[in-house]
């Protein structure tokens, strides 16, 4: 049998990778992909808990998170397209209106 901590370790690693991506990448779309990666890591965690407990609650949350990820994707892509149209690129350092 697989120790449950392995599953958790995998989820944390995936999550951390995603976080690293958000921190170091400048391309807005890639940042967005990294956020999806983080969500995916969290999903693995939930399913792992569900597996350990033998309960279906974790799956419910995963379903909700997918729905929210879909909503986020719609909004995020809309923002990115609007941003691209305005600034001619998707690098986040082009957004400097709020800079001091």
């Amino acid at each position: 049998m697989i120790p449950v901590s392995w599953i958790f370790a995998l989820s944390v690693l995936v999550f951390a990778t995603g976080a690293l991506g958000v921190l170091i990448r400048k391309n807005a779309i890639v940042m967005f992909l990294c956020i999806e990666l983080m969500l995916n890591g969290a999903n693995i965690f939930f399913v792992g808990v569900s597996k350990m407990r033998g309960a279906a609650e974790g799956h419910i949350f995963v379903l909700f998170m997918m729905a929210i990820a879909a909503a986020e994707a719609a909004i995020g892509m809309a923002i990115i397209t609007a941003f691209y149209r305005r600034k001619g690129g998707v690098e986040v350092d082009r957004a400097d209106l709020m800079k001091w």
Binding site: V22, K26, V92
Partner: protein, 631 residues
């Protein structure tokens, strides 16, 4: 009873609110609201007076206004003999003055008309609060409120610089007195733990003699401001810049007597402090004489009356100062009628002459304005102390009490002042209403005023002539009624309780005071009708005295040199240039600079680069997790 008291207080307030908030709507019809708003309380006051006369009293709390730990101040009302007399006087005189104002103010703009009535109702509201309060703090609210209304009404024609300045002068002078009043309240609260009359008077005997003296002197300092006594009387003559009915209501009949009321109300405290009583009586006598002497030579119709008011207030303080509280309040009561009447007459003359106040330009107006002249003469006879008119009874009672209580000097001063009063009043009458017209143009335009102005004159003249007879009622008359309150408090320490007219030497005293009144009148007649001795020659002969009196003893100039100019100088050169510009502005600008400095440093955090914000989030998470691990 509480409901009736509340009605008396709140109806004028409602009138003021309606006229104040809807002045663009009420306009010319403002008096339709304002007059009933005073007349109804006047009727209710009579009902309350009737109840008090039959032995009922009221002392109750309507609402706890301030309640912080042990410091509890109610909005509560006290209705006893003293406050019953006061509310009847205030509402009755105010009603007729309101009616008179309809005629007097008819040249005003629409807004100004409504504003005037709003202030007037507001004033009555505060005055009733002052006299009906059952604790010192609520009384102080009324005290300040009438001061505010006085300021607003003196400065009613605020476009005129002199009116605006007179308003400020009144207000600031009163502040000086209020300063003493407030300290007295602080001391009372500190040592007795309450400001409610009932508690204060019940525990007043715990005060040591120096403390009681200090408190009563400070209270009297407040009274000198409000009631225009030496040294704070200077504002009252200038207050004549306001409309004449205002002078009549506020600066003759009601507000200025608040100080007398306050001293009478605090009689329990004053009885504990004989020295304060002496001070009150002495200041009162000095003021009476001092003000009367200035009235002798003044040529301004209203200012003569103003000095006369100051002088009569001095009499009232003599009354309360020698322990004859009832006599003082009786004089307050009669004075409200005849001085209110005379001011209204002066206003009538002024209205007829389009604002002319200089007596030198008048003369012979009797032929044109018979009602005004006759009512004025009744008022003047009353104030001069000619029996059986009102002033005779009250003034004579005060002088009598002063004499029998051993204040011979004060009695002498009062008697001389009575002669001066009679003289300057009839000088005023002869110059204004009799003799040859000295200014043809003014004489031409003079006319009698419409009934809306003359009827109040007649009513007040009737009462000026007759209210004195209340002294003859069974049971000690008016003073006996009041003494039910004053004597209950201090076990018959009052001198010569029942009017004193039946006492041994009383007849002589009465004779003297009547005699001096007629002497004053006769002298005025000789000088200003027969010109023997000719006033002009007398003026020449006593030029220095005349100049001194005419310039009002240079007191205003003295105050300017002593207080106002140094204050202005220090304000300008020290407070403005150094304290304000350097210190206060420095602090304010320094705080602003500090903020922008810190902002300049901190705004570097806002890079506007999105991953940096993600960094902030991650660092935050790490810190939170770290705390979770540590703890």
């Amino acid at each position: 009873m509480l409901k009736l008291i509340l009605a008396v207080i709140l109806i004028p307030l409602a009138g003021a609110m309606i006229n104040g908030l809807f002045c663009w709507k009420t306009k010319r019809k403002a008096h339709l609201i304002a007059v009933p708003a005073i007349a109804i309380p006047a009727v209710i006051s009579l009902v309350l007076f009737w109840k008090v006369a039959h032995g009922q009293r009221f002392d109750g709390t309507f609402y706890w206004w301030i309640s912080v730990g042990n410091f509890r101040i109610p909005i509560g009302f006290l209705l006893d003999e003293l406050s019953a007399v006061m509310i009847v006087t205030v509402t009755f005189v105010a009603t007729w003055i309101h009616i008179y104002s309809i005629g007097y103010m008819d040249h005003e703009t629409d807004r100004g008309y409504a504003k005037y009535f709003c202030y007037l109702n507001f004033f009555v509201f505060f005055m009733l609060t002052l006299v009906l309060a059952n604790n010192y703090l609520l009384m102080f609210v009324g005290w300040e409120g009438v001061g505010l209304c006085s300021y607003l009404l003196i400065g009613y024609w605020y476009e005129k610089a002199s009116a605006a300045n007179a308003g400020m002068k009144a207000f600031i002078t009163n502040r000086v007195g209020d300063f003493g009043f407030m300290i007295a309240l602080f001391l009372l609260y500190k040592h007795l733990g309450s400001l409610i009359y009932h508690d204060v008077f019940a525990s007043a005997h715990e005060l040591t003699l120096p403390l009681a003296t200090l408190i009563t002197l400070l209270l009297f300092m407040g009274a000198t401001g409000k009631s225009a006594q030496i040294p704070l009387y200077v504002w009252l003559p200038d207050a004549m810049e306001g409309p004449t009915p205002v002078s009549s209501l506020i600066h003759a009949a009601t507000m200025v007597t608040a100080g007398v009321y306050m001293v009478a109300r605090s009689h329990v405290l004053y009885n504990l402090a004989p020295f304060s009583m002496e001070v009150v009586a002495s200041i009162g006598a000095a003021t009476a004489m001092f003000a009367a002497s200035m009235a002798l030579v003044n040529n301004d119709l209203k200012r003569v009356l103003a000095y006369s008011t100051v002088s009569q207030l001095g009499y009232m303080f003599v009354g309360v100062g020698v322990g004859a509280y009832a006599a003082g309040v009786f004089h307050l009561f009669t004075h409200a009628f005849f001085k209110g009447l005379m001011f209204l007459c002066a206003g009538s003359v002024m209205h007829a002459l389009h604002g002319e106040l200089d007596m030198q330009k008048m003369g012979g107006l009797y032929n044109k304005m018979k009602i005004t002249a006759i009512t004025f003469i009744i008022g003047a006879l009353a104030i001069s102390g000619v029996p059986p008119l009102a002033g005779f009874w009250s003034k004579d009672s005060i002088l009598h009490h002063a004499f029998v209580s051993g204040h011979k000097i004060i009695w002498f001063v009062g008697t001389v002042t009575a002669a001066m009063t009679a003289f300057y009043m009839f000088r005023l009458i002869f110059l204004t209403f009799f003799g040859e017209p000295r200014d043809k143009h003014i004489y031409e335009i003079a006319h009698e005023n419409p009934p809306v102005m003359t009827i109040p004159l007649m009513v007040l003249a009737f009462f000026s002539a007759t209210v004195g007879l209340l002294a003859l009622l069974p049971g000690g008359g008016f003073e006996g009624f009041l003494n039910r309150l004053f004597e209950a408090a201090h076990h018959g320490a009052e001198h010569a309780a029942h009017g004193g007219h039946e006492a041994g030497g009383a007849a002589v005293l009465i004779l003297i005071s009547v005699l001096v009144a007629f002497m004053g009148i006769g002298l005025a007649y000789a000088m200003y009708m027969k010109h023997t001795p000719d006033p002009k020659k007398l003026t020449e002969r006593f030029r220095p005295i005349y100049t001194l009196l005419y310039n009002r003893y240079y007191v205003d100039e003295l105050y300017f040199a002593l207080f106002i100019n140094p204050t202005v100088g220090i304000s300008r050169h020290v407070l403005w240039k150094i304290v304000d510009v350097l210190i206060i502005d420095g602090i304010v600008n320094g705080v602003a600079r500090l903020c922008s400095l810190v902002g300049n440093l901190i705004r570097k955090i806002h890079t506007g680069f999105i991953p940096d914000y993600a960094w902030a989030i991650l660092v935050g998470i790490i810190i939170v997790c770290g705390l979770k691990i540590i703890f």
